[in-house]
Assembly symmetry: C2
């Protein structure tokens, strides 16, 4: 018998309708679970602002070996996941496999790129060093001033907006019900080891369910009923980016994703097959601030035009800001947390699009009593709960 005030019940309720929550919802429903997804805006957060880079190789940094391994797992899973999504919905999601060309603007930038490339190679990653001329042979509009670059053929991209829209459609087709409201709390049964019994909504209602997935991105910390150490582990990291378009009749100015270091500043340009070029992104610790600032737009345009001068001729179609869910160790938080029946799938920081498919696999494994892939082992919520003895 449902508790008082519970109008909707399900096997699983998912808080958050970005690519993480929606991918989990789709796969969970496909696995036979009855799923409700709650989001007031159905995922207009970081998922739609993102650039859609699938770039475990060019993102790999010193000291993040475990993160690299889970990102490589995610990349390996992505194409089959995207293919099934395209087959189910009949829509293309714009997966591009031309690879990523990292370029260095000056000698200092080049030295830094070479150090990172050596590390990436030592991790077994494919990387091809190119001089300035060879870079321009791949991308003819690059400035001749480019010092040199490295091609990472394993780093791809996807049109994050088409991908998110396809996920929503697939989830709906699989029977996922959407409640357009914000989850304010995970509800648990009374008693010391009380399991999840559903969620409370901002409008005062409740959804009853034996399992709850918190996939609310940078807002995950606002969900009551989770251990305080987990709530404070997720913070918003502001990113501003630009969406450019080719004017009518202009041929494409880019084929590969370009990652450039311009006198120490990082900028990327991600081309879409439909003529869009995404330029990003700032990383700002400013809390939940979504304003687009003059300085950020200037710097992104300046750095993009420094490496690809023809950028100046493109149309500035959109400026936007999003909030990535950052964590203290830059790794995601995926796994069971606190009360029984509660699963976290958040903290994906800069790699939410990339990790969405693999995260859905891991979450559905947990929801159906199976073990996630071992690459997820270092990224359980327990690592932030040591003081509470939870792991």
């Amino acid at each position: 018998m449902p508790a008082k005030g519970v109008a909707v019940t399900a096997d699983v309720v998912i808080a958050g309708g970005g690519v993480i929550g929606t991918a989990i919802a789709w796969r969970a429903a496909a696995a036979g679970l009855d799923v409700v997804l709650a989001d007031p805006a159905h995922g207009d957060g970081a998922s739609l602002v993102a650039a859609g880079m699938l770039a475990p190789v060019s993102e790999a940094l010193f000291g993040e070996g475990a993160l690299l391994r889970v990102n490589l797992l995610a990349l390996a899973r992505f194409p089959s996941f995207a293919a099934e999504l395209e087959q189910v919905t009949g829509h293309r999601v714009g997966l591009r496999r031309e690879g990523t060309l990292a370029v260095a603007y000056d000698a200092g930038d080049y030295a830094a790129l070479m150090r990172l490339t050596a590390f990436r190679r030592s991790a077994g990653l494919d990387a091809e060093e190119l001089d300035s001329r060879a870079c321009r042979k791949l991308e003819s509009f690059l400035t001749p001033d480019v010092h040199g670059g490295v091609l990472f053929p394993g780093d791809w991209s996807v049109d994050n907006r088409r991908y998110a829209a396809a996920l929503r459609e697939a989830a709906a087709a699989a029977g996922v019900r959407v409640v357009p409201d914000r989850v304010t709390a995970v509800l648990t049964a009374s008693g010391a080891d009380g399991r999840a019994r559903g969620v409370a909504l901002a409008d005062g209602g409740e959804i009853g369910s034996g399992q709850v997935v918190v996939a609310a991105g940078s807002w995950s910390g606002a969900v009551h009923g989770l251990p305080e150490a987990l709530r404070s582990a997720v913070r918003p990291v502001k990113g501003q980016l630009l969406r450019l378009r080719h004017p009518d009749g202009m041929p494409p100015v880019l084929t590969h994703t370009i990652r450039a270091t311009v006198r120490g500043a990082d900028v990327y340009l991600v081309p879409r097959t439909d003529g869009e070029v995404v330029v990003g992104a700032t990383q700002e610790e400013r809390g939940p601030d979504l304003t687009v600032t003059a300085g950020a737009v200037h710097d992104l345009l300046h750095d993009a035009m420094s490496v690809l001068p023809v950028t100046s001729e493109l149309i500035l179609a959109e400026t936007c800001a999003g909030l990535r869910p950052g964590t203290p160790d830059n790794g995601p938080i995926v796994g069971s947390a606190g009360p029984g029946g509660v699963l976290l799938a958040t903290g994906h920081y800069r790699n939410g699009i990339l990790m969405s498919a693999a995260t859905a696999d891991a979450a559905v494994a947990c929801l159906t009593g199976r073990a996630p892939a071992p690459e997820w082992e270092p990224f359980g919520p327990g690592r932030f709960l040591t003081n509470q003895g939870a792991r």
Copy 2:
């Protein structure tokens, strides 16, 4: 008896609902005429993109003495016109009288500013030279790198969007009827000296009237039934500009309008009392192209940040592009043209907001059989019709 297909009749029909057309409509209706104004979008062209500078002094260039005189007439008329508009509508239009501070970024920019200032003074205009320190005393956020400047106390600004909205409201209150369609042609009675009998609309309808005012800005040349030499005299000159806003809690960064020359490039920053700062503007000969380009936004932000570094902290609220109605001699076209009963009020180029009040006076004089002020004499349509002997 109205002609076939004429559903609407009036004393005067005005083609174009920007500030020029709407100011004329208001004053003509206030003078007792029955007025219809036709515009498919009710003036979302150059009038709403503009910055609202009322700047005859800092705009005055060598060799444009007649234009300076009509601009000074327009500025002298503006305050009483705006005061009546505010009284009639009950809305403030944001007139600011702090003056314009022209600043030069380097020595070359300063030399050019001094030459222009000498010319402006020789024309009797008020100008006060200021060194870098005195400039920063007026505007404390200016970069200390500013070489020097000149204060033009007679150059003001108005909030062009509030002003345009107030004009629309005043016109409606005075009885002006609006037809939301585009005028495609001025219709004349048959015969060699056939007078105007109304206009044709894009939807196939007609409006019957004995007098027609073409105030269609950069689209004036698209109106059939005008002499070819007049239609080709007006061309669109693209301008891109930015609307910035102060973040919550930041005190105003500007009081005066700033006009800066940064290594030869001109940029202006116009502050509003509500926290908006307008930054403009490009001047591009690209036909009727309304795209916002990455290069233009970059350059405007770069130049603004060069003179006022705190600009980088402002919110980039809007980027926009408009089409100024340019003419071969940079002067407006105001007066009777071609067929009897046809009046032109277009070609105001960079000064449409400034000239709107005085243009309304001149147009209503023509419509009611009086002579416009003598300052308008050099700006009749006849100057473009010499080959046809129309003047």
